[in-house]
């Protein structure tokens, strides 16, 4: 495998995760900054000849089966397409591209070449979300009629803005909860600081094909220093109960109409059995599972958990959201 783009997420998650992945071997890393390359090479004790400042050289390497793209968002689509053309499987960080057209090209290329393309929406791999989704799917809270993701974040790349850098995660997660059900229409508002060009805060309402209503609220807590001030959760309301899952933390709050535990203590909070502490986030484990899933999809020739088509679906909702914020109206999502 090779990693293109050695920024924070590559250094913190993807490179170490590839290094411990038993079915993978890290053969090359690439970054336009020589200083970043050197820092990564020293930190992970990589061979000097495995570091490249020109990513096209990495794409030309015959030993590489898969590329992990963790460059700035504007370059995702271009690099992913080039990697597919070079015959490599691709893991691309979110968003898959900057436009629907480019995302559609990626989907077509992936289909044509039968290569795996996975998109980095790691929230799906947080174990508490997987439990909550299983309860939703098995009708434990009845039929869902509303889903919401609310997140106050301390980290947003100012040059990308909250929609591209962060809201895409929340869109993907909410769609995943509803089994990738199509979003029919969206309406969105965003807040842009006078000195900035990109949005810092955004609110989206949406309607799914099955008439379920959705709402996303994302807020950049610029200047805040502690995550303890930040509320981040997914809330699903059903006809027989409700589920609230921490966005990255381990806890799930459940209320189920009529059940003994809800009568006695409800709503009550629980965690996946392996979670150590309710305050420790599960993000690192989610990144690890995400990479394992990508590697296994290649080795076992199966669909990655978040494939290019799902990346495209998010892209379409994002584009409709951007249009809605500009034109201040409901926008149909063309899926």
């Amino acid at each position: 495998m090779a990693v293109i783009g050695c920024g924070e997420i590559a250094e913190r998650a993807h490179i170490p995760n590839i290094l411990v992945e038993p079915l993978a071997r890290l053969e090359a890393v690439s970054d336009i900054s020589e200083d970043r390359l050197l820092a990564v090479q020293e930190k992970f004790n990589l061979r000097k000849d495995s570091c490249y400042t020109d990513y096209t050289e990495v794409l030309a390497l015959k030993d590489i089966d898969a590329i992990v793209v963790t460059t700035p968002a504007v370059t995702h689509g271009e690099i992913a397409l080039k990697a597919i053309d070079a015959g490599k499987h691709v893991f691309v960080e979110k968003p898959m591209s900057m436009t629907v057209t480019e995302a559609e090209e990626i989907v077509k290329s992936a289909k044509r070449t039968e290569l795996k393309v996975a998109v980095g929406y790691q929230h799906r791999f947080v174990s508490s979300h997987r439990i909550a989704k299983r309860y939703l799917r098995t009708n434990k809270i009845g039929a869902p009629f509303f889903g919401e993701v609310h997140s106050e974040t301390l980290i947003v790349k100012p040059e990308e803005g909250i929609l591209i850098d962060y809201v895409v995660h929340l869109i993907d997660l909410l769609c995943w909860y509803f089994d990738d059900s199509r979003v029919v229409e969206v309406a969105a508002l965003s807040y842009v600081d006078e000195e900035e060009t990109e949005a810092k805060h955004a609110m989206i309402i949406m309607r799914f094909q099955n008439n379920v209503l959705g709402r996303i609220g994302a807020f950049f807590m610029d200047g805040y220093t502690s995550w303890s001030a930040s509320d981040r959760f997914v809330r699903i309301l059903g006809t027989r109960g409700k589920l609230v899952a921490d966005l990255t933390g381990p806890t799930i709050t459940l209320y189920r109409e009529g059940s003994l535990l809800s009568r006695l203590r409800g709503p009550h909070k629980f965690m996946p059995k392996g979670a150590v502490q309710e305050n420790l986030p599960l993000t690192e484990a989610a990144y690890r599972r995400e990479m394992t899933n990508f590697v296994q999809s290649i080795v076992q020739n199966k669909k990655p958990e978040v494939d290019a088509e799902q990346g495209l679906a998010v892209q379409k909702i994002l584009e409709a959201t951007q249009l809605s914020t500009r034109e201040k109206r409901f926008v149909k999502v063309n899926q």
Binding site: I252, L261, L264, F270, V276
Partner: protein, 346 residues
């Protein structure tokens, strides 16, 4: 408010007796389509009068429930003990009957589990809850009346100890039995409690004792009241039993206000017990083991701090980037003084 406890002569026809007892405490009327869990006491797979719950009484109970709500999903649960719960079900005569009448048998030691947080737990800060119990609508506890070497007497209140899915954790937490039972019953508060005291167990229970005919059936909608009444008959005062004393002292004293209904009002039940010296040694043993468990928790705390430092560096932790310092200290205190029923102990 007085809690009704039915005490009636256990006639030959156990079904008639049980139905009468349930009706005397106000009946049991589940909503149609509900999920009902019955927890018998199958602490061993060896057949023995007074040691494990007689399947005949569970059969009578299932018939009662079906007469009230036809479309309920009834599940009988038990965890592993000296053998797998499924082996116990089979040896004790539950398996074939359950299949015939469409009742589900569930080994909760093999069920999917989640970790329930217990912010107000007396001794538990988290508890592994099998999903069958997480989503049940009604819970019915059916137990025997038994002598217990370290606890003097056990019945309904301690039957819920078997809702801890892991056998090892049950053994580990014996020194904190009273506190843990309080916490467990706060989660699994039985909607209906039935004590099958047709035959009691005397001597060194809860498994090795000697069966003794008593001829009673006790029933209540308050699990603690059922035990308070039954233990009062044996011990004179129910709070001589440590776990009952603890529960009554910690906010559940109301459960000792009882109205006895039914055709039998015995003054006392005689169940022989172990010697006083043996009992004191058992209790001292528990006291010493409690100290050891606190030391284990201190060790675990160091491990968790180490884990937290993998996610955040010490400077950020100290500055309160993840949580304020006071919250960390509170967490640390809870980690040392309270316990977690988790898979790590397996």
């Amino acid at each position: 408010m007085k809690h009704k406890v039915a005490c009636i002569d256990a006639l030959d026809n156990i079904e008639e007796t049980l139905w009468k007892a349930i009706d005397l405490v106000g009946g049991f009327n589940p909503f149609d389509g509900s999920s009902i869990v019955i927890k018998p006491n199958l602490c061993t797979s060896k057949k023995g009068l007074g040691v494990t719950t007689d399947p005949e009484i569970v059969k009578a109970l299932v018939n009662y429930i079906r007469s009230k709500a036809k479309n309920c999903e009834i599940t009988i649960v038990e965890g592993d003990s000296d053998s797998s719960a499924m082996v116990a079900f089979k040896k004790l005569g539950y398996t074939k009957w359950a299949k015939d009448v469409g009742v589900r048998l569930k080994n909760i030691s093999e069920d999917r589990v989640v970790k329930l947080l217990m912010p107000h737990g007396k001794r538990l800060r988290a508890l592994l809850v099998p999903e069958t119990l997480l989503f049940m609508d009604y819970f019915i506890s059916v137990a025997c009346l038994k002598r217990h070497a370290a606890e003097r007497l056990t019945s309904i209140w301690k039957n819920q100890y078997g809702c801890i899915p892991q056998k090892h954790m049950r053994l580990d937490l014996h020194p904190f039995m009273s506190d843990v039972l309080y916490d467990l019953n706060s989660v699994y508060w039985a909607d209906l409690s039935i004590i099958d005291a047709r035959v009691g167990l005397e001597g060194s229970g809860p498994i090795e004792g000697t069966p003794k005919p008593i001829g009673l059936l006790i029933c209540s909608k308050n699990p603690l009241s059922a035990d308070v009444f039954a233990f009062g008959l044996v011990e004179g005062k129910a709070d001589r039993v440590p776990s009952i004393h603890y529960a009554l002292k910690h906010g559940l004293a109301d459960s000792s206000v009882i109205e006895v209904v039914g055709n039998k009002h015995p003054q006392a039940i005689s169940l022989r017990y172990i010697s006083r010296l043996q009992y004191i040694l058992y209790r001292w043993g528990m006291w010493t083991r409690r100290r050891g468990l606190y030391l284990v928790n201190i060790g675990t705390l160091f491990g968790v701090i180490g884990f937290a430092l993998r996610v955040q560096n010490f400077g950020d932790l100290a500055k309160g980037k993840l949580l304020p310092t006071s919250s960390w200290l509170k967490l640390a205190w809870r980690m040392v003084t309270k316990f977690e029923i988790s898979e790590r102990h397996n």
